[in-house]
Amino acid sequence: MEPVIRIRGLRTQFGDQVIHDNLDLDVRKAEILGIVGGSGTGKSVLLRTIIGLNHPTAGQIEVFGQDLAQANPAERLAVEQRWGVLFQDGALFSSLTVAQNIEVPMKEHLGMPARLRDEIAALKIAMVGLPPEAGSKYPSELSGGMRKRAGLARSLALDPDLIFLDEPTAGLDPIGAANFDQLIRRLADNLGLTVFMVTHDLDSLNAICDRIAVLAEKHVMVVGPMADMLRHEHPWLREYFHGPRARAAQRQEVG
């Protein structure tokens, strides 16, 4: 089956600093892929490069079979409407209410009438588990966890096939993080979403990721399900997946 995202020979560099070199990665349809790696290995840079906020120095990125570097603006827009992005702190527009934030893409790209927009925004607010009264609140009146849920609702506004999540559980308390994990899993299952998730959260990796890709030494060193990660011999992987925090996360999973 055609992968949703196909990256071949990607090279990203800022000045002399090479972030990715000869990086290959496939993201399959309807899977949740977790991206891990030490600080500064370019996980977020990879996400930003795929969605077109950074320009790669070399290499090819295809999303839904479309090479974005070659695409004309109309083709690009068509692909952009099929993905949603959740930035780290939600990146909600601060001058709009939560519901208005969710309505922005519907209004801008689809020209939906206000009544239908309001109905669908309410639906998304309920889907991400926000209370109905959150719709009329401004982002500054929300807690961090609620902002992330609202950001997720906005990224789901056009019913995308693919969503990008940048550290979705960072900064949430363990209960909030676990709820958020379950929310992502449930949405992915119910809506057939493909999820590309940058995370550091071992619990998320354990609980909801179908496959994990490890960024190290400027490329994807290994990609596969959790079981493969645990068997791998590379010292960094051993430390990451067998360290004290990893053991705690796995115990929880078993128990």
Binding site: M112, I120, K124, S136, D159
Partner: protein, 374 residues
């Protein structure tokens, strides 16, 4: 994939038969929504879904809403051709059918206007109160520093003097020079009508020295340095640096505010002097070029036109203006709340308040100098 479509069949006595097909997704719902809203509510409905190729939450919402409204009006609504995927999607939507608030509640427009005026007035009063409190705090810090001069942060002081004083020389000089040129030219065309062009020197000398040079310098500095103080201190507040300072036993008044205030109080009189010279120089060039008043004659007239007080009246005001601009700039910076948006808002406020206070105090000085007769 085909666009979503909906065909409305005839009512064969057994209710309306709707045939839905194609892709019922977010890209198609605008059109489908219009079609569905055209159907008169309250009839019995059968919706045939067997030709739907794709259904997302937006499309599922339309189906769900149509059925719900029909049933609410006592009609019968059935679905035919359900697949497990469609059923799951409809369940998903049904489970999340919770109306949400979209906009904050609106109040009556008249009430909103009154409320706005009231809030504005209270805000002005609160700000005035904070400014007075801050003035007290600043003077107390200043007194403490005078008693223990070793507490003064010399390096930041010099750094700020360079930034607010030395680096402002080109812009302040250019503006004053041009104002000197403009005054000479405008004054000369008016005075020529009385054959009194020579008095243009008096005009330039008195207006530049007493008012224009210092006022323009203060306004430029409020825009340039007052805003910079607010933005610098404000972004430190956003970043929790100011809180961190307090927990480390550093007094932000002493570390951040005092060096900035002193730097401006020291440099603004020097800038004003520079502006005086550039203004007179601009006037001189214009008189020479356009009015044939030679520099020698210009300087001679200048000496006759002014007394030392003309000069001092301008310079004396400088430290007061500097104090106001720096105080407002720092205070607005510290009033920033922890959002990036508020840095921008307070910076605007700092410039507006700074210029406003400068002009009010300038007016008070005019009254004072008129009363004492200089």
């Amino acid at each position: 994939m085909a666009d979503g479509w909906l065909k409305v069949g005839a009512d064969g006595g057994d209710g309306l038969v709707l045939q839905a097909g194609g892709s019922w997704d977010a890209r198609n719902v605008t059109r489908l929504d219009l079609q569905l809203r055209d159907i008169r509510p309250g009839q019995d409905l059968t919706v045939n879904l067997d030709q739907i190729e794709r259904l997302d939450t937006a499309g599922a919402w339309l189906l769900f809403r149509t059925l719900k409204e029909c049933r609410n009006l006592g009609g019968r609504a059935d679905l035919a051709g359900l697949t497990p995927a469609i059923e799951a999607m409809l369940e998903q939507v049904a489970a999340n059918d919770i109306p949400a608030e979209i906009e904050p509640p609106q109040t009556n427009a008249l009430v909103a206007v009154v409320e706005h005026i009231g809030a504005g007035a209270v805000d002005v009063a609160m700000e005035a109160k904070q400014q007075i409190a801050f003035l007290g705090l600043l003077l107390e810090t200043l007194a403490r520093t005078i008693r223990h001069p070793s507490r003064l942060r010399l390096v930041p002081l010099v750094h700020h003097m360079e930034k607010v004083g030395f680096n402002a020389l080109p812009i302040v000089g250019l503006i004053s020079f041009l104002i000197g040129v403009v005054l000479a030219f405008q004054g000369a065309t008016q005075l020529q009508r009385f054959g009194a062009e020579i008095f243009v020197v008096n005009l330039i000398a008195v207006s530049v020295l007493r008012e224009i040079a210092i006022l323009l310098t203060a306004i430029v500095v409020a825009g340039r340095s007052g805003s910079a103080f607010t933005a610098e201190i404000g972004s430190m507040v956003v970043n929790e640096e100011v809180d961190a300072m307090r927990t480390l036993g550093l007094d932000p008044m002493e570390v951040l505010v005092l060096p900035r205030v002193l730097a401006l109080v020291i440099t603004l009189p020097l800038l004003a002097f520079f502006a005086d010279m550039m203004g007179l120089f601009g006037g001189m060039l214009m008189c020479w070029g356009a009015l044939d008043i030679s520099p020698a004659l210009y300087l001679e007239r200048l000496q006759g036109a002014i007394s030392p007080w003309s000069f001092w009246v301008g310079i004396i005001k400088a430290p007061f203006f500097a104090f106001l601009i720096a105080m407002v700039g720092c205070l607005e910076g510290l009033r920033v709340t922890r959002s990036a948006e508020s840095v921008g808002r307070q910076t605007t406020r700092s410039v507006v308040t700074g210029i406003f206070l400068v002009i009010v105090v300038d007016a008070l000085f005019s009254i004072f100098f008129a009363a004492v007769g200089v």
